[in-house]
């Protein structure tokens, strides 16, 4: 609980309209896309870096947690106030400060919606590739905190590959600038890379300098349909080993795609087991050549059908189906254990078949989809959390899937982050020493442990107010 004094002081910093302790508002800032709820004690809407600095200084003095939050669309609980305290909503800091077409950079505030930023730069013939499925509503600040990826990562990389510099409020309240507004920069340690993906535990990002690319001349979108899931996985590996890097190479199994309403109207053959959504972009002549080669690889390796999207409308529809999958899975079972594994690309068939076998062994409903092109598969185990037996089986299955992934030389999270949902498993991938180094970094930057506590490193007992699944 926060004292009246603290509330008064927060009100003085942010203004009366920009702080709330009403139960209604607290409820609205208690959740994210993990579908778990933890009530904060207050929510504050700062408008600039100085206000955030003052809030954090006070948190250090008074000892309350501060949790930064963008759109609340994360999948690992990064923005959940698991220990209460003050949610710092960055919704008001949503301005694009600069788009510099001469130097191919942009400077944005953290609350800018990723898709809106992309639309703005594309109007100028520029390109910001990171495209998480939530791009129409997630924020760039959240993307930077979690190092979000997306389908285009196979060719263009993830958020960290585009962040050149940051303005950050440290957990002690000081404001620093990291990186530079230039493409190169090796002055001192790379604090930019340290901050990106730190899940709001090492600082609150208040300004982001982003690298832009020229917008590719054209794109071509294809849909390859398979009646054997192994063939689809094999084709995904083969395209890469044939030295073609498509701009996206998405895998969707039957259980995933059938959850989306629009799927029915796509007129796909009834006996499909998996589809690949493949896009190539760049110079017009080049993409024609690449598309022809990809179609050949698909056909030679068991694709029943390869379709080419005719117009923008068709492309939009294909992507709508793809982006709707994750939330639509709730149609299979009410609760989702949402994993985010990555394996080396040659191991995609082993991973997909292996995951299936684990799910079958424990008699669980499993839907897999994701960015096969970069080896990142979203493994979903669908359960009813009130069924304790099912929950127990699911926990065992998750552990076995992670063992499988690590055995194939992969990692347990590609783009969602650890947050609270993968916290218990971090030790499976990282050594004690590596975890210790990370904890020491956290200790140095945040000696009082006020910034987004209870995340990444398992040390606290969680008590979700709707006692949701903790896996």
């Amino acid at each position: 609980m926060l004292s009246q004094n603290v509330i008064r002081e927060l009100t003085r910093i942010a203004g009366e309209e920009n702080i709330s302790t009403s139960k209604e508002d607290l409820i609205c800032y208690s959740y994210d896309a993990t579908n778990q709820k933890f009530l904060p004690d207050a929510v504050v809407f700062p408008k600039n870096v100085d206000e955030i600095s003052l809030i954090i200084q006070m948190a250090n003095r008074e000892g309350f947690p501060v949790v930064p939050r963008g759109a609340g669309s994360g999948f690992s609980g990064g923005s959940l106030p698991v220990e209460g305290g003050v949610v710092v909503s960055l919704e008001r800091m949503n301005k694009i400060l600069k788009i510099d077409a001469d130097n191919l950079i942009a400077v944005v505030e953290p609350g800018v919606v990723t898709g809106e930023f992309q639309w703005e730069v594309e109007r100028l013939g520029l390109f910001y590739p990171p495209d998480p499925s939530s791009l129409k509503f997630c924020t760039i600040g959240g993307n930077a905190a979690e190092c979000a990826g997306g389908p285009r990562a196979v060719k263009y990389g993830v958020t960290k590959d585009y962040v050149l510099g940051l303005e950050v409020v440290l957990p002690t309240g000081e404001i620093i600038n990291t990186g530079a507004q230039t493409l190169k920069g090796v002055v001192g340690y790379d604090l930019t890379k340290l901050m990106v993906g730190s899940e709001g535990t090492l600082g609150i990002v208040t300004k982001i300098v982003l690298k832009l690319l020229p917008l590719p001349e054209a794109t071509k979108t294809m849909l390859a349909v398979f009646s054997d899931i192994r063939d689809a996985a094999t084709v995904a590996s083969k395209i890469i080993s044939s030295k073609i890097i498509p701009s996206t190479l998405e895998f969707m199994d039957k259980s995933s795609i059938s959850c989306v309403d629009d799927y029915a109207s796509m007129g796909l053959p009834a006996d499909i087991e998996a589809v690949l959504l493949i896009e190539v972009d760049g110079d017009r002549d080049l993409i024609e050549k690449q598309a022809a080669l990809i179609q050949k690889i698909c056909r030679d390796n068991g694709a029943k059908e390869v379709r080419i999207a005719g117009d923008k409308k068709e492309v939009k529809k294909l992507w709508q189906v793809r982006r709707a999958i994750s939330p639509a899975l709730a149609k299979l079972k009410p609760n989702k254990i949402n994993e985010d594994i990555v394996v080396p690309r040659s191991k995609i068939p082993d991973a997909i078949i292996g995951v299936r076998m684990v799910a079958e062994k424990y008699n669980l409903i499993n839907a897999n989809f994701g960015h096969a092109g970069d080896g990142n598969i979203h493994v979903n185990i669908m359960i009813d959390k009130t069924n304790t037996d099912e929950l127990r089986r699911a926990e065992k299955a998750v552990k076995e899937i992670f063992e499988l992934v690590l055995g194939l030389g992969g990692t347990i999270s590609g783009e969602h982050g650890i947050g609270i949902s993968k916290m218990p498993y971090i030790g499976m991938e990282l050594s004690h020493t590596a975890i210790d180094v990370m904890k020491k970094i956290k200790q140095v930057l945040d000696p009082k442990g006020i910034l987004n506590p209870g995340k990444i490193f398992p040390h606290t007992q969680l008590t979700s107010c709707n006692s949701n699944l903790q896996v």
Binding site: C28, T34, A71, E91, R92, V260, A324
Partner: protein, 452 residues
Amino acid sequence: MKDLKQFSDEINKCVLCGTCRGVCPTFGVINREPASARGKAALCGAYLNKEIELSDVFIKQMNECVQCMACKTACPNDVNVPDIILSARAEIAKEKGLPFVKSFILGNILDSARLMPATMKFASKLQGFLFKDVPEESGLHRRFPLPLIDERRLVPPLAERFFLEVRSQKPAPAGNKHGSEARSQENSSQFTVHSSRPRIGFFAGCLINYMLPSIGEASLKVLESAGASVIVPLDQHCCGMPALGSGDIETAKSLALKNLEAFEQYELDYITTACATCSDGLKRRFKELLYDEGEDVRKRVERFSSKVRDITELLINELRITNYELRILNPKSEIRNPKSIVTYHDPCHLRRGQGIADEPRELIEMSGAKLKEMSHPCRCCGLGGSFNITNYDFSMEINRNKAEDIKNTGADIVATACPGCMIQIKDGLHQLGADTKVVHVVELLADNTNRQ
């Protein structure tokens, strides 16, 4: 009508993914989570779990929704947040009562066949005194403070003669009567009667009746030229959607029943209206409202609703209007400036409520105009029924994007299929200083746009 408790499973379908944040127009203006559909669903869930009460904050959140249904359309799990909010409003009205002015208007005036026209007539006579003309505009600005109407609001004048009033002075021609209709002859105005033609009942709706009767007249002309026999029952009422939107279920039910009675007196093939909100209400909401009124009423409302078509879909899909028929209607249409460019705004209750998008566009092209799409044709205009009256600034802020989208097309005319959207868009364009003409699609067909 389902109450909030019965929406419990619907609320639990929400997985809190946040997709609605990308499309919700009230969230787009406020940019804070409680304004989003996700936030509102979470609040309704919390109320049902007894975590919160019907507090002022809760009531404010439930009122800040324009019922555009963009969230429902975008939702990967089809969560019907607009209806969850409507049932929350009904819960609020039931537990807390409606604000006095609102309840008086809805319960006493709107619900009465005599009082409503009488009140409006009084207002029509009074308006010259209350409002002043805006130069070169067909709208009005108010002179004095009036309850519910914002000072900057540009309102269309109340018509000197209401649509149904004009119709009542054109009684049905003798002959061609069907059984029970003989009795109710005095209660209807039959525009044309041909026994072999499809028989259409025309529902005017308040905005067309009291403010924009030219849309009603244009509708009758176009329907006739498309080969229909049109009947206008004179004892029709408000469709009740403003009452439903305010949580006043009883008034909405009563109006639905009265309208049912007004139209049941005639043998009709179809019932149509040129207001997207009315057609959505007649088609979809009447059934929900009267669901619990017994087997007999349920059958009657099923029969009624199955005949309802928005005028745009009726003309294209049922009457199959042709260019030839339009040329007969507008013999001089070749003199229309062939360069006139029309852009189209999709009313929420037409596009998302009824899934009608192609038909109005086909009609625009049939009229001879060149259709140029604006960048977000189905973005809400921000009217949201009485939302616009209670939250004027907010409503106009939502409208600003719409007005700019329209202006950016460079079109001479913006056409739509809802008189509510027309009033809102006209106000928005006026505030933006754009002189784009605002018309209803049927006016474009009847070519009487010069009359407004």
